[in-house]
Structure formats: structure tokens, C-alpha cells
Amino acid sequence: MNALTRAVLSFWDSSIGKKILVAGTGIALLLFLPGHLIGNLLLFAGKDAINEYALWLHNAGHGGLVWVARIGLLTVLVVHVLLTVQLTVRNRAVAQKYSYPATNRASRSSRMMIWSGLTILAFIIYHISHFTVRIGNDYNGTAYLTSLPGHEGDVHNVHKMIIDGFSHTGNTVFYMVAITILCSHLSHGFASVFQTLGLRSRKSDLLIARAGWAYALLIWVGFLSIPVAVLFFGYGRT
């Protein structure tokens, strides 16, 4: 085994190395969310805008870009989840409980990171099955094909799929709960990235914490605006 392989393996095995990888993959996921949100918000720009955007996503780089993004995100997610589960298993094995437990400073969000994270993982699996693979619905059917100005032939009607998806109360409530849990996860995760990468100091502590809350709030409001508009205000349903 050469020196480089040894160094990489010992980094992967060490507590700080694992945490740095969790933070690095966390940054990728933190950057993905606003991109995904901006795409989703095109729903409010009308049917053609979001359908055209969806078509562009699928055709970009001769249809290769979307797969590069999917494989990249899947890799990032697998590393993030695998390492956090490993870290948690180790923590549970070495920590001991008090007969009189107390918490001094740790926020509720920070203490439920593994549970919020696993709930988000379950949601991601459901979300991809629902809107990407389209299992258990007829979103792949001919009823979800439509025309697009300036484009020959039919395209997938993402607009109708989203409106129909969020017209179902059960789906929508689960979506809203999952997004809320995601934002709890982000509120701690955002600031943690800075601490784990050594970019936080006492001077910047409050600024980073506030930026984390602001980011989580923005993501929460942005993603919830669509199901709220569709289910509660009938947006796109008439």
C-alpha cells in the first residue's frame, strides 16, 4: 500500500476525516436545494415555463447532464448517509446515559439530526418514486403529454403532474412535514459545515448561525409555497 492510499484510508477511518466528508457532501446538498427550488418555482411562471425547463433539463448535454447530476447527487447522498450512520453507531456505542439527564445548550434540531436525516432519506425515496420514476400513479401515461410552443411533438406535462400530485391531501401533508423536518436538519447542518471545516470562530459564530436559520427559512418557505398554493388556494387546479 503506498503512502497516498494509507493517508486516504486513515483520513476515512478518523473521526475528523469522516466529519469533513460529511460536511463536504453536506455542502453539495446545500447547493443542490436552491437549484431544485428555483426550477420548481417556475411553476408560478406558467405551464410552458416549467415544461420547457423540464425538457431542457432532460436534453442538456445530449441528455447526459441529467444523468451526471443524478449519479453525482446519489454518490454524495450515499456518502453523507453512510458516514453519519457510522458516526452515530460509534457515538451510541461509546456514550453512557445519566440517571438525571440534562441539556445545557444543544438545540433540539442538533439533537435529532440522525432522525431528521433518516426521515429525509425516506422522503427522498418516496419523492423520487412519486415524481421521477412515477410509481403508483399514471404520470407516465398519455394524459400527461402536452404540446410546447416552438417544439415539435409532445413533451411531458410536468405542470399537470405537480398540480395533480399536490391535489392529494395525504401526499401533500407528508411533503410539508418532510420539508419542515428537512429545514430543521438544515438549520443545524448549515452552521455545522463551517465548524467542521474550521471556518467558524467566536466572531463569526452568530453571523453563521443566523445565515443557517435564514437559509433554512428560505428553503422552507420556497418549497412549501407550491403545495400550499395548489392544495389550499387551488392554484392551477381550475
Binding site: 493517508a7 475528523i16 457515538n91 456514550a95 440517571s99 440534562a102 445548550r105 438545540s107 465548524q195 467542521t196
Partner: protein
């Protein structure tokens, strides 16, 4: 003052411990927490029982020997205070007080409230020092050090190695201790030549000693009797990453 104590009793590391209740009666208001335990122990010994074992040494808040998790908080609820400097006037007459050892897998119980913190010694032996020639003391101002660096190093050096950070951590992580000891030396020119080796070796020793991983809860910072900042943890993360990259490319 009168209190009801709920104290962890455990014969040795192999036996199962339990909480036992003791009355603490006629405690002077000026008594420290450890003096209160001394009074309770005298009564237990007078009644023919086995006294409550607990660690202590200087009783001046500087040695890092006293421990105790009091009502779930290592060294008790008073900020920046060791157990020996905690006084009974901070409690209310009639309070029930839970007293447990510093709990962590890496701190096995020796007896009652006494735990083995030698894992910290192994971490220090792995890199918490500077290698210097012995002989006459060097001139104090031979190596210029900025006031800021000296202050940072001194703040980190005030860590007394008591282990409260580990005891407060939900993951039993020793990151605040290790980072304070590493930062103390990494801030100074005398520590610079061994900076990378120190970061890598101390973290490896920490992991091998059976401590958990930092989850950035900052419970350690909240209970530290010397108010060591979690900035040290950020610095150690940074130093470790840089050292790992340099080692991989060397």
C-alpha cells in the same frame, strides 16, 4: 441547610452501579460541594458504612481532579466553576441533588464517583508536547510572539483536563480537550515544527481511546469550568485537514 442526595454507588468497574439516597443534614451555607460530601461521609462512616468515593485534590479550581455530574451537569450549573468551587449557597434548602460520575465509555468507573481519566494522558503522550533540548532556560524574548497568538495559546492552555467536556457530550467526544491541548501548542512558534504530527497523532489517540465524534452541540463549551472555546475545535478540524493533505502529498 438540608438536602436529599441521590448518589451513584458502584463497588468497582465490574459491578453494576445504582443510585442510593442519603440525607445531607445541617450543612453550613458557606460549605463547598465537596465539603458537603465530606460531612455526609463522616456520618456514613460513623454509622459503619462505606463512604462515598469521589476525586479531589487542590480544592482551588486549578488541578482538574474533581469531577461529579450534578443534576445532569458536569461540575454543576454554575458557569466556569469546578465542583470544588461550587458552593451550597447556590442550591435551595430542601433540594434533591443527583450526583453521578463523569459518564463515558472511555472513562470507566473505578468506584462510586471516581472514574479513570488516563485516556487523556494517552492523548497527551501522542502529541501534546513540544520536543525541546533540556538545559538552561531559553531567554524569554528570544522568539517573538504576537500578543494575539500568546493570548490565544494561553486561553487554550487554561484547560485543566478534568473531562467535563466528555461527560457533557451526548457522544462522549473529547474534541474540546484535544483541540485545546493541540491549539495551545499549534498557536506558538515553539509548537509549529510538530504541528502536523501533533494533529494527526492526537486525533488518532483520541479515536483509539474510545471517545465519540463531535456533533457540534457545544455542550462541552457550556460546561467547561475554564470556559475553553469551541473555536479550538474548529482550529483542530482545520489543522487536521491540512496535516492529512500534506501527509498524503508528502
Amino acid at each position: 441547610m438540608n438536602f436529599t442526595l441521590k448518589v451513584w454507588r458502584q463497588n468497582d468497574g465490574d459491578s453494576k452501579g445504582h443510585i442510593e439516597e442519603y440525607p445531607a443534614e445541617n450543612i453550613p451555607i458557606e460549605a463547598s460541594f465537596l465539603e458537603m460530601l465530606d460531612i455526609v461521609n463522616e456520618k456514613i462512616i460513623g454509622d459503619g458504612g462505606s463512604p462515598i468515593h469521589f476525586d479531589h485534590d487542590c480544592r482551588e479550581g486549578i488541578c482538574g481532579m474533581c469531577s461529579l455530574t450534578i443534576n445532569g451537569v458536569p461540575h454543576g450549573r454554575e458557569n466556569g466553576t469546578t465542583t470544588c468551587q461550587l458552593h451550597m449557597r447556590h442550591f435551595d434548602d430542601g433540594d434533591t441533588i443527583w450526583i453521578e460520575p463523569f459518564r463515558a465509555g472511555a472513562f470507566p468507573v473505578i468506584r462510586d464517583l471516581v472514574v479513570d481519566r488516563s485516556a487523556f494522558d494517552r492523548i497527551i503522550a501522542a502529541g501534546g508536547y513540544v520536543s525541546v533540548r533540556t538545559g538552561a532556560a531559553p531567554d524569554a524574548n528570544a522568539i517573538p510572539i504576537t500578543k494575539e497568538d500568546a493570548d490565544h495559546a494561553f486561553d487554550s492552555a487554561t484547560c485543566i483536563g478534568c473531562g467535563a467536556c466528555v461527560a457533557a457530550c451526548k457522544n462522549s467526544s473529547a474534541m474540546l480537550f484535544v483541540s485545546a491541548k493541540a491549539s495551545h501548542l499549534n498557536h506558538l512558534p515553539q509548537g509549529a515544527p510538530e504541528k502536523d504530527r501533533r494533529a494527526l497523532n492526537m486525533v488518532q489517540a483520541m479515536d483509539e481511546a474510545g471517545f465519540g465524534n463531535c456533533s457540534n452541540h457545544y455542550e462541552c463549551e457550556a460546561v467547561c469550568p475554564k470556559s475553553i472555546s469551541a473555536d479550538n475545535v474548529a482550529k483542530l478540524n482545520r489543522d487536521y485537514a491540512a496535516a492529512a493533505v500534506r501527509k498524503a502529498l508528502a
